[in-house]
């Protein structure tokens, strides 16, 4: 196993202009010369987070337009027409969700979900880091659309450095009159609080997030009632992902039809993909939905890093089913194509798995994660995640039997769809797909009965 990438040096750091219809960057901020930049126009720059820069480039014009005479219902209608689907994982249409807030509601709350804890996903971080004002402008417009007077941006606690940056941007907004009382003289009042999480994946689930801000454990609640009807402090509450909200100003300025010009019928617009693993150019990319995976992989990512071969891809964050290389190569990057291939677009957190990786080892890593992050409320999830983790470890100790594979299936069927929130399913989907698509590797461990070297058996440093 190649332990160390050569510091990702040349592959990750140099400018790689493509001019082929997508925006690309990596951490050091390389942006391609052309391609849709609805979300990533200021990515990779050192000044894009400043209010003055954002304003100079057209920022807060959408807000001015909205507050200059649009009604909340009109804003909702434009977003609905655009077909924007939630970018947090489930892909639910954003405008439709806003419409669930009861008309008569007196107090509405709005939450921007920047918990971003799904392994493989790091796109919202780029949005907030390079261009916090875009998300804030989108938040103010979204709050107006659902008539909220208090909004929160819930940022995972691990992003301490990012929280400072977003707080600064929010402060700039208050000073400029984009937040607070009587915004831009429109009579609309909005407060926006940056709320810092404290390290719990489950707080990304919308009801977990709401409970967390109420000052409780971030445990999800049973739905219905849905938050849009009864959420934070039992009042109507909308929770949207950062990328969903950040897409709103562009849609307002350019219209629903212009947005629909990108993407496909059922997956309109552009989407950020965060790509990790040994490809030539890992990073965050904005592409129109519907791009063939093959094009994305070969032309945008530059294919595998030297000496690596593609084995499989988890396309939408660690919770979605894995696809072997030959299957993903025939997919397009949109909700419908990936759905019919048996996986999901999810959060767009694309994890590239090379040939050298042992799939049983990787699923152990993931099962440890879900077991660790289960909030413990539901028996199938609390017990099931631990059970799956132990079964996989048993296989790797060389003590597995063919019955264990049946047992894995059995435990999975006792977990899927039977719990308060989808974390249980989020564990089952990778587990089942790893076993279905790479069964040979599981069976080989059982036949072999040779324990994997103790050192590699505990990939996480964990002890038995």
């Amino acid at each position: 196993m190649r332990s160390w990438r050569a510091c990702a040096a040349a592959s990750c750091r140099g400018p790689t202009p493509t001019g082929k219809g997508w925006t690309e960057l990596n951490h050091n901020g390389v942006v391609g010369p052309s391609g849709p930049k609805l979300l990533s126009a200021r990515f990779g720059r050192t000044d894009g987070h400043r209010l003055a820069v954002y304003e100079k480039e057209g920022g807060y014009q959408a807000l001015r337009r909205v507050l200059g005479g649009m009604q909340p219902a009109e804003v909702q209608a434009v977003v609905k027409e655009s077909g924007l689907r939630g970018r947090g994982g489930a892909g639910f249409p954003t405008g439709t969700k806003w419409g669930f807030v009861p008309q008569a509601a007196e107090q509405v709350y709005f939450f921007v979900n920047a918990d971003e804890s799904e392994p493989g996903t790091f796109k919202d971080r780029f949005l907030l880091d390079y261009d916090p004002h875009q998300t804030i402008e989108g938040t103010i417009i979204s709050c107006f659309a659902v008539r909220a007077s208090l909004g929160f941006i819930y940022i995972r606690g691990e992003f301490g450095w990012l929280i400072d940056r977003v707080q600064k941007a929010v402060d700039e907004c208050y000073a400029a009159g984009y937040l607070g009382k009587n915004i831009l003289g429109s009579g609309y009042n909005l407060d926006l609080i940056v709320h810092k999480g404290a390290g719990a994946y489950i707080c990304g689930e919308e009801t977990g997030l709401i409970n967390s801000v109420e000052g409780r454990k971030g445990q999800p609640s049973i739905k219905p009632p849905f938050p849009a009807v009864s959420g934070f402090l039992k009042k109507p509450t909308i929770v949207n992902n950062v990328e969903s909200v950040a897409s709103v100003p562009w849609i307002i300025m350019n219209g629903a039809a212009a947005y629909r010009a990108f993407g496909t019928e059922k997956s309109p617009g552009t989407k950020l993909f965060s790509v990790s693993g040994p490809v030539k150019r890992p990073g965050v990319y904005e592409i129109p939905l519907g791009m063939p995976f093959r094009t994305f992989f070969n032309d945008v990512l530059g294919g595998m890093a030297d000496g690596e071969e593609l084995k499989a891809v988890i396309v939408g964050g660690s919770s979605v089913p894995v696809l072997p290389a030959d299957e993903i190569m025939n997919c397009n990057l949109d909700y419908e194509s990936l759905g019919s291939a048996g996986t999901m677009l999810g959060s767009g957190g694309m994890i590239i798995i090379p040939k050298r990786c042992d799939m049983v080892e990787l699923i152990q890593v993931l099962m440890h994660f879900y077991w660790d992050e289960s909030c413990g409320q539901c028996t199938p999830c609390r017990e099931g995640t631990g059970w799956l983790h132990r079964l996989v470890k048993k296989l790797r100790r060389g003590e597995g039997t063919p019955e264990d594979l049946e047992r894995i299936e059995h435990v999975c069927s006792g977990m899927a769809g039977l719990t308060i929130c989808p974390l249980s399913d989020a564990a089952v989907m990778p587990m089942r797909s790893f076993l279905a698509k790479f069964r040979g590797e599981f069976e080989a461990l059982i036949q072999d009965q040779t324990p994997v070297a103790a050192e590699s058996r505990w990939p996480r440093g964990e002890q038995e």
């Binding site: 493989g120 995972r156 450095w161 990012l162 390290g199 454990k217 402090l233 693993g277 440093g461």
Partner: protein
Amino acid sequence: MTKPMQELPMDGTPGFALSPGALARIDALAARYPTKASALMPCLWVIMDELGWVPPGGVDLMVEKLDVTHARVNEVLTFYTMFRDTPQAKHTLQVCHNISCHIMGARPLIRHLEERLGVKLGGRTADGQFQIEGAECLGACGMGPCLQLGTHLYENVTPAKADALLESLRRGVVPRADTDREGVD
């Protein structure tokens, strides 16, 4: 949400005091949030930022300021990985060991750090200087393996980079984080 193995607090309840600035921030947060209880997490962060952990006196303070029960505060304090109810090492290195970082070499990095510091993952050096912990994804998956030290995130961490980090910390200097772009600006 793994909490590292930790020693229990020392005998007796340690003294508890917050600076006037921190107390003022707590009052301001309690007033700003729609209910006092909803300010619990940010108020715990105020204590964490000042002391590095939340001692029993901090729990009492929350009960007093936010009209919540001891049970509620303790429940929240123990649910979240980043809140700590025991004193911490001077430097806690949190190494991501989730899938993307694992693929890119988190395990060799952890082994390297374990050897350098002479402690296992979850352990603390005898002098109380260093602690290494596993972390479940730090949102730097494309730049893995990565590790976090307080609000400092280090990306593409090679053993050499990890050595340089330890060396620098021993000299009392926290190296610039990879996410710190202010200097460039």
